[in-house]
């Protein structure tokens, strides 16, 4: 088990290194890194300082080591657009808004998705099941950016129920969380429905019934516990969808998170900030995947005895 954890940790580090290499190469190999990292308004002194700082006059390998070294000390360069501010600071101050939105969306998604999946499975073939399946199908097909706009138009503009955009009260969370979670909600629902159906037809559920356990215990303990394993294995993918969604959804709802920061930086061609956002998100992403693996170990006893 220790070997398993160490192995996963090594994989996580490798992934992070790979991503840093990709980012590094993108900035060095395509076009002029100085222009990319400094913007148009740079002076000759700025240029010289940057070349010195990033070892741009030396070999690519030296440059990469310098890049890594800087990154390890938290130096990702300065923003081109936002008045030469430290790129990492800019990203870190936007992080809480994104994390809280993702957390709300993930909770909403998991709770609702699992409930809907279980409901559909135990009422298989009924009207409830059909409605759940249609909703899930639509949820998997609707593009998030468009759903967000439609929700703003209908719920906020026409009905005046919730704020159109921005950040602050709980009302601000409702529409963005719904938008960001819709695809994942649909995926969780389908996954839970399918694995619940498998579990409900299994021999161990029969045995639980043979013992005379109540239907609630049979479904919620014996069947659901097994149906959640695939959900956990897909959590990493769900998190990825949420991050991808964050860029789009934060832009639509003017949510002051790192997704919107990434979008703004693209518009203003602020490369240092974009590369920092990407690296930070990659790190988060890898951390999340690692947590998922550990969670998997915790809930599935069969995994614990491997490696």
């Amino acid at each position: 088990m220790t070997r398993l954890i160490v192995g996963r940790l090594a994989e996580a580090l490798a992934a992070l290194l790979l991503m840093s290499l990709v980012i590094f190469l993108l900035s060095r190999v395509t076009g002029d890194p100085v222009a990319l990292l400094l913007g148009d308004s740079a002076t000759v002194e700025d240029r010289d300082r940057l070349i010195e700082q990033l070892a741009l006059d030396r070999s690519l390998w030296d440059q990469y080591l310098t890049f890594l070294g800087n990154a390890l000390t938290g130096d990702f360069g300065q923003s081109v657009a936002a008045g030469r501010r430290d790129a990492l600071d800019l990203v870190l101050e936007r992080l809480p808004a994104s994390m809280s939105l993702a957390a709300v969306a993930l909770c909403f998604t998991l709770v609702t998705g699992i409930a809907m999946g279980v409901l559909a499975a135990i009422t298989r073939g009924s009207a409830v099941d059909i409605v759940v399946r249609i909703v899930a199908l639509m949820g998997q097909s609707v593009p998030a950016f468009w759903l967000g706009i439609v929700l703003i138009y209908v719920v906020s503009v026409n009905w005046g129920l919730l704020p159109t955009s921005g950040y602050g009260t709980w009302q601000h969370y409702v529409l963005p969380a719904l938008t960001i979670g819709t695809f994942t909600l649909a995926a969780v629902t389908r996954l839970v429905r399918a694995s619940m159906l498998d579990a409900l037809g299994s021999e161990y559920v029969k045995l639980a019934r043979i013992k005379g356990l109540s239907e609630a215990t049979v479904i919620l303990k014996h069947a659901l516990s097994n149906s959640l394993i695939p959900v956990v294995t897909f959590m990493g993918a769900f998190f990825a969808t949420m991050i991808t969604g964050a860029v789009v959804v934060e832009t639509v709802f003017a949510w002051p998170g790192i997704g919107r920061l990434a979008y703004e930086s693209i518009v203003s061609r602020d490369f240092p900030v974009i590369q920092t956002v990407v690296l930070v998100i990659t790190a988060l992403f890898i951390l999340a995947n690692f947590c998922v693996d550990m969670l998997y170990l915790a809930i599935d006893p069969r995994m614990r005895d491997r490696g």
Binding site: R124, G201, S202, E203, Y204, K206, L207, A208, R209, I210, K211, G212, L213, S214, T217, H222, S225, N226, I229, I299, D300, P301, R302, D305
Partner: protein, 321 residues
Amino acid sequence: MSLLSIRNLTVRLGRAAHAPAILEDVSLDVQPGETVGLVGESGSGKSTLGMSVLRLTPPLLAEGTSGEILWNGQDVLKMRGKALRQLRGGEMSMILQDPMASLNPVFSVGSQLGEALKRAGRADLQAAAEAALAEVNIPSPAERLRSFPHQLSGGMRQRVVSAIGLAQEPKLIICDEPTTALDATIQFQFLELLRALQKAHGMAMLFVTHDFGVVARICDRVAVMYAGRIVETGPVREIFRNPRHPYTRALLAAVPSTREAPDRLPVIDGAPPSVGNRPEGCAFHPRCPLATDRCRTQPRMEPQAPGHDAACWHAKEVAAA
């Protein structure tokens, strides 16, 4: 009064009257303490019969179930909620076919056994659980309680399943081919164990199997099933000496003289008809050497000897042969 009395049980694939039937007009009694073998090829409906008694059939079959299953005079098919749960585990229990699949992979042995013991109202769960495992000959029970199913061998798992089945001291235990998935040597051990447990607890047992050899070892009475019907029933010795249905005779001829159990029943020509494809009348007639035109109508169960019934127009000829 019989402990269990199945009356005219028919199980169709759905509610429609013309839906194909897996079981047709099956009647069978089990007395307290008795072991009844239910023998047939796969697809004969024997497992469905076992499942129906505990109301464990999937929804489609449950909808298509008619007849009566009387437990101490009460119809199991009419039971709801709490009464049904009281029946399961407490009164009747079951050992399933596949020990690999019948334990929940995410809970420990102790937790799964504990659930059953708790329902039986045991005070000291730990001690009771250890005793239950010891009774099915599991070494170092305290340790095994902490194990998860994947850490146990097949034979061990089947013992755990048996311990769970017996935990609430049922009056009847249904065994659905409990040895099929086990190695030959372990099969014998397990059968001996079952017989010992049955004696110790004074339970009745309904033993579903395709293997007449197993029936000979542990059953008092036997019912032979073919294509969803019971075609012959009687005391084991009587049936072995004096089979009256050509199908029973063919099955017995297939039992090898060695004690090794065959996996299938190979010697009868042809294959049993699939559900929904059953011939008119006696379903066995296309494979039967004695078949005549008369066999196109369904024969009824007729007494052949005391306690020995068979459904065959040519029962006398079988006896003479």
